[in-house]
């Protein structure tokens, strides 16, 4: 029998962890001499009370959905893919090549092509760590960390030596042709009388991210492959007995994970900057870890957690604009969320389990 009802595991623990993280964040804000309640108000005003604020929140959320899904698919196979950052960088390269060298007639076709490019490049970047883990037992966490740094060096090299237009100073590719520009929320939802999402970078890729959530949900819970991935994650020896090949599952799970991380760059590179820049990922690959932990590795949870982090990102930018609180506050909050929902999970869980066991005894 379970020690706790399922809802407590899925809802109560993340909420307690989040409250703990919020409490410590409030202490940090107090320590630098600002008012946490005021700060929260400012964040909500800036991120949720205007359509443009939502435009930014959902733009960031789009990135985090992809990277969060990437981390959670790997988690299901009990693999910790910390290389989302590198996979997204290389995915951006895929997007840039597709957009720059294929003459697309319309954005709707271009986004499909770019998604394939991003997914292929991202998956390729996850392939080697996956094979090394599966066949040679090299720890995937270490190899994916190393691949993040190698990706940064590779991207730097490619941008400086190949993709940079002649005469340009900053390491960035040329602007993508107009036909590949994705419609933003402003283009889609504004009418002549009521402008909506003005200037916000949220674009059609958000819907692609929603589709990705559904596809991942179907894959993990409704297909044979998903079952194999989960079985492998639960117990490698049991999976082996059931005839599931560890090598095959490790590689496939990592390829899917890398592809999802890579697809994040459709949003940043094609949707926002419309050219490949050096630091388009901005740490979103790592935020995927926090998002997956908070979302309990379920696509719906990932969606909610991604929107929460999108809100934190946009709200944090507003704080930096109006108060003396730097943007790095979000990094601290992110760290606390990872700490409480991930590393200190047992600290929250153990007392709660005791409470539930005591309650059950009383009822019996």
């Amino acid at each position: 029998m379970d020690k706790m009802p399922k809802w407590a595991d899925i809802v109560l623990i993340p909420i307690i962890s989040l409250l703990l993280a919020a409490f410590f964040s409030a202490l940090v804000i107090l320590a630098i001499g600002e008012n946490p309640v005021e700060a929260l108000k400012l964040m909500i005003d800036g991120a949720l009370m205007r359509s443009a604020g939502w435009g930014y929140t959902l733009y960031y959320a789009t990135n985090f959905i992809f990277t969060g899904l990437a981390v959670s698919v790997a988690f299901h196979a009990r693999l910790f893919n910390i290389g989302g950052e590198g996979q997204a960088m290389v995915g951006g390269l895929g997007v840039a090549l597709v957009c720059l060298y294929i003459p697309w007639p319309h954005w709707s076709l271009a986004i499909l092509g770019a998604s394939v490019g991003a997914a292929l490049f991202g998956a390729a970047w996850a392939y080697l760590p996956a094979v090394l883990q599966a066949k040679r037992g090299s720890h995937i966490v270490i190899t994916t960390i190393m691949f993040n740094f190698i990706a940064a060096a590779l991207l730097n090299y490619v941008l400086v030596e190949w993709l940079r237009p002649i005469g340009a100073m900053d390491p960035a590719s040329a602007k993508f042709p107009g036909a590949t520009h994705l419609p933003s929320f402003q283009d889609m939802f504004s009418t002549a009388d009521t402008p909506m999402f003005r200037g916000a970078p949220a674009n059609v890729t958000f819907f692609l991210a929603l589709v990705a959530c559904v596809v991942v949900w179907m894959l993990i819970w409704k297909t044979r492959l998903g079952y194999e991935i989960r079985a492998f994650g639960q117990s490698e020896t049991a999976a082996k007995y059931a005839g599931i090949s560890p090598v095959r599952i490790t590689v496939i799970a990592m390829l899917i994970s890398g592809a999802l991380a890579g697809m994040m760059s459709v949003n940043t590179t094609m949707g926002e900057s419309e050219r490949l820049i050096l630091n388009s990922t901005e740490g979103a690959g790592f935020i995927g870890i926090a998002v997956a932990l908070m979302g309990r590795n379920h696509p719906f949870g990932v969606l909610l957690a991604a929107i929460l982090f999108g809100f934190l990102y946009q709200g944090g930018a507003e704080l930096a604009l109006w108060t003396s609180i730097p943007r790095e506050l979000i990094v601290v909050i992110q760290a606390l969320v990872i700490l409480f929902t991930g590393a200190l999970d047992n600290m929250v869980r153990a007392p709660l389990e005791k409470v539930f066991i005591a309650l059950r005894r009383r009822n019996v």
Binding site: L128, V141, G342, A343
Partner: protein, 336 residues
Amino acid sequence: MDFLTLLQVLDTSVRLATPLLLACLAGLYSERSGVVDIGLEGKMLAAAFFSAAFAFYSGNAWLGLLAGIGAAMVLALIHGLASVTFRGNQLISGVAINFLAAGMTVLAAQSWFRQGGRTPPLEGAARFNPIELPFAIGPTEAAAVDRPLSQLIAEANPLQQFYSELISGHSILVYLALLTVPATWWLLFRTRFGLRLRAVGENPAAVDTAGVSVVWLRYAAILLCGVLCGVAGAYLSTALQAGFVKDMTAGRGFIALAALIFAKWRPVYALWACLLFGLFQALELRPDIIENVSGIKVQVQLLGALPYILTVVILAGFVGKAIPPRASGEPYIKER
């Protein structure tokens, strides 16, 4: 390339290898006791900030060093709490610590100094300055005869050049870091504590059966790791550079992790691995030297990525297999 240029490159290598070496040995203690630590980067960064801040306020580099060690030990305790006491995921805890340090240092720096996430530049006794060994040609000799130091060294004989340029003129922390290598070897392989520490990383159940506390040993290792990360961070901000800047560790914690694997978790190998990676970093600063020597234009990006690429190759087991301590990464659960 002439002898003097070689010496200069090696000199820079030693300077750049020092923080790697300290962090690498820090990781060695932790991982030998069975606690994986990918939070070396964060601990170094926190130490770099706090030592620069306290050195600035007190004007004393040693007080700064103590503050840095303290900061790194606090983060080490959080890691211990998560990975030993609450038996959580050590990797996730390490990731959290890295972000915590990255965010908190900028937040604190902005709140204390309001200079965009940096500390004011450190001067004089607030820094660990180079020390001149006896008989070496240093700035004092140059000032005495009123000629540039580089000229004096260029005229000296090769042995004197070697001694003055490479051996002498580092800050005390460099020599301290080099001494830590034999000290670590002695502690791990010649003392009872070391034997137990290594055993707890291989087979904690056996150590427990022998009546030795697994929890205590692992905390001891984690705290030692914190101390060394503290020295590494203090070196970055008060010796190598004069003050803290945002994200100044720049991936050194991960290069140290790479060096640890490269060294197969052994102290003396760690020294060579860190010197090698230090050399790569030194050459990254002087790409013209490789071009002059080999005639090939080497990409600086490739040099920067080389430690990571080499580590992947080593991890893949193509050049000698790197086998981590057997119990590393696994929380120990005492059976009842």
